[in-house]
Symmetry: C2
Subunit: 367 residues, 2 copies
């Protein structure tokens, strides 16, 4: 049959992408609400120029600023922020920043209109949230178009995510210029996060004709930044392509979630400090080799879309740009156990066993 | 730059596509409301099997049936239907049928919750409407995913459309089997409507990277039914591909609207009785020749996606399947004047003049 699978597709975010998109779409603020609660990190929103643009289009109107979102936003801080938003009766949220600021804003949006504790986010299903206008200043998580939020749970010292249709941002305003001043290493590691979303969604057992369409469009866009990454020199074109790719990665995983690469990557972040994007693509070699066996046509399509002559070139491209800590046998075993606890393992083609995952850690960690 | 243009993309419809999708997603009815107003035409909803499926999943729950939508739904009838819906306090609409039933449902959805006359639909902007679950039984208009509704205005004896974010259906349930019993000629003419949306959106000056992605995916799907159309023999695969293509055509024109093909096609429907899809592709030869001059790369891409060896083969494919009334000089002049009044002319590449349009009518009408 064609399409080959059932399709479930839902992307209610109004996407506005382009140079000066905040100025060119200033009406969306008024249309969304009267009194915004602005959520940002400590510096990115200002450095990027996005904060000044937003204040300018608010044109003297009132707002409350919460600019204390940390790199891994804590649930307890979100509770505090929601109390402030409630107190001032803010009626919408403007989130400016990277994935942390956007994810924090989603949590605040829910807590501000529900009688819930922060921990309830992970156990209760919320139906309502303040509308969020999301303005990303990095190209990585795609959070501006996802129904996901990842937070740090203080007492467990771990990250947890929650999801829900009500936390899809209402509007995403994407202006590539907000990423122009990002450091090179950070640009690359976040870009690798974006492309891991595109790859994993494409290979996911939950993929469908439409999600694959988004993945392919996103990989095609990412490919336009491959030379920039190799040369560690980004221009407007490559940064714009990466922002577009990152958004498409967000749309793709909103359809499918992730797969084994993410499941394995977490340990490389927690125990070896690799940035999330690097942690995922640390497994490029074993992951793509596995996919070549399970999904040959898809793997070839990805290689083509990436503009690579062959699979090894693609693997080398990632390996050349990622720090490669060695892993010993005990680490491989332990991390594989943790990875197997992630549900994304089951969305990976090939019925991965613990042994398969141990071998992937060994293959990636032998260098 | 890449993406080459600013992007505006909004597609808030939850798309559920697949065999038995009504049964597989029965929860969406309960989630949408308690008391549905069901809008259908006189026979298509029943013949397709969709009506029985819906009644079955409503599982004995109450509903009001309005099964009197005509081929070209009249504004005055929509007013009457809305009064019934209001009277019974229905809280959502289930629309089952072709473009007419779905477009009628959108009008009723607005009139049922606003203090508006039917004619106000064309002059006032409504912000609210009853939520609509759209279940198409033809593959043509793509109305299940558009913010458009086309109605017949009784006193003017003409069609008029209205648009608005509030009339995007909330959910589209697409099951290809509802189209299995459609007559062959009707299947082809509606399929040509769908593919004209895909072509015109792709070429439109309003197209952007994302709308083009939808168009390309849709043309690729349509191509899988080309042999079925040639052989006038449809199987499940080709009908499924056409339903998918039609939906993507709806998504594509939701981004861009149409172009000159639609503007010219109207006269072929009004004055020569050609079904809408045939009326548009009646202009395949002059339209694609024009595009080959204006947008060579895009025209080649379309030819490739259609699986055609060259442009002439693609033109022949359409011409071979369309009734071809001859047009005299006076008709060409008159119809061109009417076409020039359509705003979609301006969305066509190449700054089309009245003379250009006259020539397109002449070229199409000389056979």
């Amino acid at each position: 049959m064609y399409p080959q699978t059932d399709i479930k597709s839902y992307m209610p975010v109004k996407i506005l992408f382009g140079n000066n998109c905040v100025f060119n779409n200033k009406d969306v603020f008024k249309q969304t609400g009267k009194f915004p609660f602005i959520v940002t990190g400590k510096s990115g929103a200002v450095k990027s120029g996005a904060f000044d643009d937003v204040i300018s289009v608010l044109n003297g109107g009132p707002y409350i600023l919460y600019d204390r979102v940390e790199e891994n936003p804590k649930v307890s801080d979100m509770e505090d922020a929601a109390i402030i938003s409630k107190k001032f009766r803010c009626d919408y949220i403007i989130a400016i920043g990277g994935g942390s600021a956007l994810d924090a804003a989603k949590a605040i949006a829910v807590l501000a209109v529900n009688n819930m504790s922060g921990m309830d986010l992970f156990s209760k299903k919320a139906d309502a949230a303040l509308p969020v206008i999301a303005i990303p200043t990095t190209s990585g998580t795609g959070s501006e178009v996802t129904p996901y939020s990842i937070l740090t749970v203080d007492e467990w010292q771990t990250k947890k995510s929650f999801a829900g249709d009500c936390i899809y941002p209402k509007i995403a305003l994407l202006d590539p210029k907000y990423t122009f001043s990002l450091p090179i290493d950070y640009t690359i590691s976040t870009a690798f996060d974006a492309v891991s979303h595109l790859f994993e969604s494409y290979f996911s057992l939950k993929s469908n004709e439409m999600s694959k369409m988004y993945s392919q469009e996103g990989i095609r866009a990412f490919a336009k930044a491959v030379d920039a990454i190799k040369n560690r020199k980004f221009d407007e074109q490559s940064r714009s392509a990466l922002m577009y790719a990152s958004m498409l990665g967000g749309i793709a995983i909103s359809h499918t979630g992730t797969t084994a690469m993410h499941a394995m990557g977490y340990s490389m972040t927690y125990f070896h400090g690799l940035p999330h994007g690097f942690a995922n693509l640390y497994f490029a070699e074993p992951y793509f080799r596995h996919m070549m066996k399970q999904e040959e046509q898809k793997t070839k399509t990805v290689t083509d879309l990436m503009g690579m002559t062959d699979l090894q070139s693609m693997i080398n491209f990632f390996s050349d740009n990622i720090p490669r800590p060695k892993l010993n046998k005990e680490q491989c075993e332990r991390y594989a156990t943790l990875a197997m606890m992630q549900s994304s393992i089951k969305a990976t083609p090939g019925n991965l066993t613990k042994e398969d995952i141990v071998n992937m850690f060994k293959e990636a960690g032998r260098t």
